[in-house]
Symmetry: C2
Subunit: 129 residues, 2 copies
Amino acid sequence: MRIGQLAEATGTTTKTLRFYEESGLLPPAERLASGYRDYTEDAVGRIGFIHRGQAAGLTLAQIRQILEIREHGQTPCSHVQGLLGQRLGELDAQISELLALRETISQLHEKASKPEPDSCSADQVCRYI
Amino acid sequence: MRIGQLAEATGTTTKTLRFYEESGLLPPAERLASGYRDYTEDAVGRIGFIHRGQAAGLTLAQIRQILEIREHGQTPCSHVQGLLGQRLGELDAQISELLALRETISQLHEKASKPEPDSCSADQVCRYI
DNA sequence: CTTGACCTTCCACTGTACTGGAAGGTCCAT
DNA sequence: ATGGACCTTCCAGTACAGTGGAAGGTCAAG
Protein backbone atom coordinates (compact mmCIF):
# COMPACT_ATOMS: atom_id res chain seq x y z
CA MET A 1 0.00 0.00 0.00
CA ARG A 2 1.43 3.32 -1.03
CA ILE A 3 1.27 6.45 1.06
CA GLY A 4 -1.56 8.03 -0.91
CA GLN A 5 -3.77 4.97 -0.47
CA LEU A 6 -3.02 4.85 3.23
CA ALA A 7 -3.85 8.53 3.50
CA GLU A 8 -7.18 7.98 1.80
CA ALA A 9 -7.95 4.87 3.85
CA THR A 10 -7.37 6.75 7.08
CA GLY A 11 -8.80 10.10 6.12
CA THR A 12 -5.60 12.08 6.33
CA THR A 13 -2.93 13.44 3.99
CA THR A 14 0.42 12.15 2.74
CA LYS A 15 2.06 15.18 4.28
CA THR A 16 0.70 14.27 7.67
CA LEU A 17 1.76 10.64 7.37
CA ARG A 18 5.34 11.63 6.57
CA PHE A 19 5.19 14.04 9.47
CA TYR A 20 4.03 11.23 11.77
CA GLU A 21 6.88 9.01 10.62
CA GLU A 22 9.39 11.78 11.22
CA SER A 23 7.87 12.39 14.66
CA GLY A 24 8.24 8.74 15.65
CA LEU A 25 4.52 7.98 15.66
CA LEU A 26 4.75 5.62 12.72
CA PRO A 27 7.62 3.16 12.29
CA PRO A 28 9.62 3.90 9.13
CA ALA A 29 7.83 2.12 6.30
CA GLU A 30 9.41 -0.50 4.10
CA ARG A 31 10.46 0.81 0.72
CA LEU A 32 9.77 -0.49 -2.77
CA ALA A 33 12.60 -0.63 -5.31
CA SER A 34 11.41 2.77 -6.49
CA GLY A 35 11.93 4.27 -3.06
CA TYR A 36 8.19 4.60 -2.48
CA ARG A 37 6.96 3.79 1.02
CA ASP A 38 5.14 0.46 1.19
CA TYR A 39 2.70 0.09 4.08
CA THR A 40 1.07 -3.01 5.51
CA GLU A 41 -2.45 -3.18 6.93
CA ASP A 42 -1.02 -2.62 10.42
CA ALA A 43 -0.47 1.01 9.57
CA VAL A 44 -4.21 1.58 9.24
CA GLY A 45 -4.77 0.40 12.80
CA ARG A 46 -1.88 2.42 14.07
CA ILE A 47 -3.20 5.60 12.53
CA GLY A 48 -6.65 4.77 13.88
CA PHE A 49 -5.09 4.59 17.32
CA ILE A 50 -3.44 7.97 16.83
CA HIS A 51 -6.75 9.47 15.77
CA ARG A 52 -8.61 7.96 18.70
CA GLY A 53 -5.93 9.25 21.03
CA GLN A 54 -6.30 12.71 19.57
CA ALA A 55 -10.07 12.50 19.88
CA ALA A 56 -9.47 11.72 23.55
CA GLY A 57 -7.58 14.97 23.78
CA LEU A 58 -4.10 13.45 24.09
CA THR A 59 -1.21 15.28 22.47
CA LEU A 60 0.92 13.58 19.87
CA ALA A 61 3.71 13.48 22.45
CA GLN A 62 1.49 11.55 24.86
CA ILE A 63 0.37 9.18 22.14
CA ARG A 64 3.99 8.61 21.22
CA GLN A 65 4.73 7.73 24.86
CA ILE A 66 2.04 5.06 24.86
CA LEU A 67 3.32 3.69 21.58
CA GLU A 68 6.86 3.56 22.90
CA ILE A 69 5.85 1.68 26.02
CA ARG A 70 4.02 -0.80 23.83
CA GLU A 71 7.08 -1.14 21.61
CA HIS A 72 9.20 -2.01 24.62
CA GLY A 73 6.94 -5.02 25.08
CA GLN A 74 5.05 -3.68 28.06
CA THR A 75 1.32 -3.18 28.34
CA PRO A 76 0.76 0.52 28.77
CA CYS A 77 -2.48 0.11 30.75
CA SER A 78 -1.55 1.89 33.94
CA HIS A 79 0.28 4.57 32.04
CA VAL A 80 -2.79 5.18 29.92
CA GLN A 81 -4.93 5.30 33.02
CA GLY A 82 -2.60 7.92 34.47
CA LEU A 83 -2.71 9.99 31.30
CA LEU A 84 -6.48 9.84 31.15
CA GLY A 85 -6.79 10.85 34.78
CA GLN A 86 -4.42 13.72 34.23
CA ARG A 87 -6.34 14.78 31.14
CA LEU A 88 -9.55 14.67 33.11
CA GLY A 89 -8.13 17.02 35.71
CA GLU A 90 -6.89 19.41 33.03
CA LEU A 91 -10.26 19.34 31.33
CA ASP A 92 -12.11 20.12 34.52
CA ALA A 93 -9.81 23.05 35.20
CA GLN A 94 -10.13 24.27 31.63
CA ILE A 95 -13.91 23.97 31.68
CA SER A 96 -14.36 25.92 34.87
CA GLU A 97 -12.00 28.61 33.59
CA LEU A 98 -14.03 28.90 30.42
CA LEU A 99 -17.29 29.01 32.35
CA ALA A 100 -15.98 31.84 34.48
CA LEU A 101 -14.75 33.64 31.36
CA ARG A 102 -18.13 33.12 29.74
CA GLU A 103 -19.77 34.76 32.72
CA THR A 104 -17.44 37.76 32.52
CA ILE A 105 -17.87 38.20 28.81
CA SER A 106 -21.58 37.75 29.01
CA GLN A 107 -21.79 40.61 31.48
CA LEU A 108 -19.53 42.83 29.38
CA HIS A 109 -21.58 42.00 26.32
CA GLU A 110 -24.79 42.96 28.04
CA LYS A 111 -23.34 46.22 29.27
CA ALA A 112 -22.17 46.97 25.76
CA SER A 113 -25.63 46.37 24.37
CA LYS A 114 -26.97 49.52 25.99
CA PRO A 115 -24.40 51.94 24.70
CA GLU A 116 -24.06 55.34 26.29
CA PRO A 117 -21.39 56.84 24.09
CA ASP A 118 -21.53 60.08 26.04
CA SER A 119 -19.93 58.32 28.93
CA CYS A 120 -17.00 57.19 26.77
CA SER A 121 -14.43 59.49 28.22
CA ALA A 122 -11.30 60.34 26.30
CA ASP A 123 -8.96 59.05 28.96
CA GLN A 124 -10.05 55.45 28.68
CA VAL A 125 -10.02 53.22 25.68
CA CYS A 126 -13.36 51.59 26.18
CA ARG A 127 -16.02 51.88 28.82
CA TYR A 128 -16.79 48.21 28.57
CA ILE A 129 -13.34 46.77 28.94
CA MET B 1 9.30 56.11 33.76
CA ARG B 2 11.73 53.61 32.35
CA ILE B 3 10.72 50.30 30.87
CA GLY B 4 11.70 48.24 33.91
CA GLN B 5 9.57 50.36 36.20
CA LEU B 6 6.62 50.16 33.84
CA ALA B 7 7.04 46.41 33.67
CA GLU B 8 7.00 46.16 37.44
CA ALA B 9 4.05 48.54 37.75
CA THR B 10 1.98 46.46 35.35
CA GLY B 11 3.15 43.02 36.35
CA THR B 12 4.84 42.10 33.11
CA THR B 13 8.37 42.01 31.67
CA THR B 14 10.47 44.43 29.65
CA LYS B 15 10.64 41.84 26.89
CA THR B 16 6.88 41.78 26.63
CA LEU B 17 6.59 45.57 26.60
CA ARG B 18 9.05 45.86 23.71
CA PHE B 19 7.13 43.10 21.97
CA TYR B 20 3.88 45.05 22.46
CA GLU B 21 5.44 48.17 21.01
CA GLU B 22 6.72 46.25 18.03
CA SER B 23 3.28 44.71 17.56
CA GLY B 24 1.57 48.10 17.50
CA LEU B 25 -0.19 47.67 20.84
CA LEU B 26 1.81 50.38 22.52
CA PRO B 27 2.70 53.65 20.77
CA PRO B 28 6.49 54.03 20.42
CA ALA B 29 7.69 55.60 23.65
CA GLU B 30 9.56 58.87 23.87
CA ARG B 31 13.28 58.47 24.34
CA LEU B 32 15.67 60.00 26.83
CA ALA B 33 18.99 61.40 25.64
CA SER B 34 20.46 58.02 26.52
CA GLY B 35 18.11 56.23 24.14
CA TYR B 36 16.15 54.70 27.01
CA ARG B 37 12.38 54.56 26.57
CA ASP B 38 10.56 57.12 28.72
CA TYR B 39 6.94 56.28 29.51
CA THR B 40 4.18 58.49 30.87
CA GLU B 41 1.45 57.35 33.23
CA ASP B 42 -0.84 56.72 30.24
CA ALA B 43 1.13 53.62 29.43
CA VAL B 44 0.01 51.99 32.67
CA GLY B 45 -3.64 52.40 31.69
CA ARG B 46 -2.98 51.19 28.21
CA ILE B 47 -1.33 48.04 29.43
CA GLY B 48 -4.15 47.57 31.91
CA PHE B 49 -6.54 47.69 28.99
CA ILE B 50 -4.51 45.09 27.12
CA HIS B 51 -4.57 42.84 30.17
CA ARG B 52 -8.30 43.26 30.70
CA GLY B 53 -8.85 42.50 27.02
CA GLN B 54 -6.78 39.35 27.36
CA ALA B 55 -8.68 38.38 30.48
CA ALA B 56 -11.84 38.75 28.40
CA GLY B 57 -10.36 36.21 26.00
CA LEU B 58 -9.59 38.62 23.19
CA THR B 59 -6.48 38.02 21.11
CA LEU B 60 -3.80 40.69 20.84
CA ALA B 61 -4.92 41.22 17.24
CA GLN B 62 -8.46 41.99 18.38
CA ILE B 63 -7.22 44.31 21.11
CA ARG B 64 -5.07 46.09 18.55
CA GLN B 65 -8.16 46.58 16.37
CA ILE B 66 -10.03 48.28 19.20
CA LEU B 67 -7.03 50.44 19.94
CA GLU B 68 -6.74 51.45 16.30
CA ILE B 69 -10.40 52.44 16.07
CA ARG B 70 -9.95 54.54 19.17
CA GLU B 71 -6.85 56.15 17.69
CA HIS B 72 -8.80 57.15 14.61
CA GLY B 73 -10.97 59.22 16.90
CA GLN B 74 -13.95 56.89 16.81
CA THR B 75 -15.61 55.24 19.77
CA PRO B 76 -15.17 51.51 19.35
CA CYS B 77 -18.37 50.63 21.26
CA SER B 78 -20.25 48.76 18.59
CA HIS B 79 -17.10 47.06 17.40
CA VAL B 80 -16.38 45.90 20.92
CA GLN B 81 -19.93 44.67 21.25
CA GLY B 82 -19.49 42.65 18.08
CA LEU B 83 -16.22 41.18 19.28
CA LEU B 84 -17.72 40.24 22.62
CA GLY B 85 -20.71 38.61 20.96
CA GLN B 86 -18.45 36.66 18.67
CA ARG B 87 -16.27 35.60 21.59
CA LEU B 88 -19.36 34.48 23.46
CA GLY B 89 -20.36 32.22 20.57
CA GLU B 90 -16.87 30.76 20.34
CA LEU B 91 -16.82 30.16 24.07
CA ASP B 92 -20.14 28.35 24.02
CA ALA B 93 -18.94 26.11 21.21
CA GLN B 94 -15.65 25.46 22.97
CA ILE B 95 -17.35 24.68 26.25
CA SER B 96 -19.74 22.16 24.79
CA GLU B 97 -16.88 20.48 22.90
CA LEU B 98 -14.93 20.20 26.11
CA LEU B 99 -17.90 18.85 28.01
CA ALA B 100 -18.39 16.15 25.37
CA LEU B 101 -14.68 15.35 25.50
CA ARG B 102 -14.84 15.20 29.27
CA GLU B 103 -17.61 12.64 29.01
CA THR B 104 -15.62 10.49 26.59
CA ILE B 105 -12.47 10.61 28.66
CA SER B 106 -14.33 9.98 31.85
CA GLN B 107 -15.72 6.77 30.38
CA LEU B 108 -12.33 5.69 29.08
CA HIS B 109 -10.78 6.45 32.44
CA GLU B 110 -13.34 4.36 34.25
CA LYS B 111 -12.85 1.45 31.87
CA ALA B 112 -9.11 1.71 32.43
CA SER B 113 -9.54 1.59 36.18
CA LYS B 114 -10.56 -2.06 36.07
CA PRO B 115 -7.66 -3.42 34.10
CA GLU B 116 -7.87 -6.84 32.55
CA PRO B 117 -4.39 -7.09 31.08
CA ASP B 118 -5.11 -10.57 29.79
CA SER B 119 -7.44 -9.05 27.28
CA CYS B 120 -4.71 -6.75 25.97
CA SER B 121 -4.17 -8.51 22.70
CA ALA B 122 -0.95 -8.07 20.81
CA ASP B 123 -2.60 -6.72 17.70
CA GLN B 124 -3.92 -3.61 19.32
CA VAL B 125 -2.02 -0.89 21.07
CA CYS B 126 -4.37 -0.36 23.94
CA ARG B 127 -7.65 -1.88 24.93
CA TYR B 128 -8.87 1.41 26.29
CA ILE B 129 -8.14 3.63 23.35
C1' DC C 1 37.50 54.05 37.88
C1' DT C 2 35.18 50.12 38.24
C1' DT C 3 31.17 47.35 39.44
C1' DG C 4 26.50 46.16 38.83
C1' DA C 5 21.97 47.18 37.53
C1' DC C 6 19.65 48.67 33.88
C1' DC C 7 18.98 49.76 29.12
C1' DT C 8 19.57 49.16 23.70
C1' DT C 9 19.12 46.26 19.23
C1' DC C 10 18.96 42.08 16.71
C1' DC C 11 18.30 37.37 15.73
C1' DA C 12 16.62 33.10 16.83
C1' DC C 13 13.78 29.99 19.28
C1' DT C 14 9.73 27.97 22.14
C1' DG C 15 5.42 24.46 21.46
C1' DT C 16 1.71 22.29 18.61
C1' DA C 17 0.36 19.96 14.56
C1' DC C 18 0.77 20.39 10.55
C1' DT C 19 0.95 22.78 5.55
C1' DG C 20 3.09 24.70 1.20
C1' DG C 21 6.10 24.53 -2.37
C1' DA C 22 10.22 23.52 -5.12
C1' DA C 23 12.96 20.25 -7.62
C1' DG C 24 13.21 15.99 -9.11
C1' DG C 25 12.19 10.61 -9.62
C1' DT C 26 8.64 6.66 -11.01
C1' DC C 27 5.01 4.44 -13.22
C1' DC C 28 1.29 3.57 -16.40
C1' DA C 29 -1.54 4.64 -20.32
C1' DT C 30 -1.90 6.60 -24.70
C1' DA D 1 7.81 9.54 -26.04
C1' DT D 2 4.96 12.18 -23.48
C1' DG D 3 1.48 13.47 -20.20
C1' DG D 4 -0.34 13.10 -15.76
C1' DA D 5 -0.71 11.10 -11.34
C1' DC D 6 1.92 9.76 -7.92
C1' DC D 7 6.05 9.55 -5.20
C1' DT D 8 10.74 11.39 -3.03
C1' DT D 9 13.50 14.92 -0.12
C1' DC D 10 14.31 19.31 1.87
C1' DC D 11 13.39 23.86 3.39
C1' DA D 12 10.38 27.14 5.13
C1' DG D 13 6.16 28.92 6.99
C1' DT D 14 1.56 29.03 9.62
C1' DA D 15 -0.73 30.98 14.30
C1' DC D 16 -0.02 32.63 19.01
C1' DA D 17 2.23 35.26 22.52
C1' DG D 18 5.92 35.75 23.88
C1' DT D 19 11.15 34.11 25.62
C1' DG D 20 16.35 33.66 25.45
C1' DG D 21 20.64 35.30 24.66
C1' DA D 22 24.52 37.92 22.70
C1' DA D 23 26.93 42.24 22.20
C1' DG D 24 27.15 46.56 23.60
C1' DG D 25 25.68 51.43 25.78
C1' DT D 26 24.34 54.25 30.29
C1' DC D 27 24.17 55.59 34.90
C1' DA D 28 24.71 55.96 39.97
C1' DA D 29 27.24 54.27 43.99
C1' DG D 30 31.37 53.10 46.24
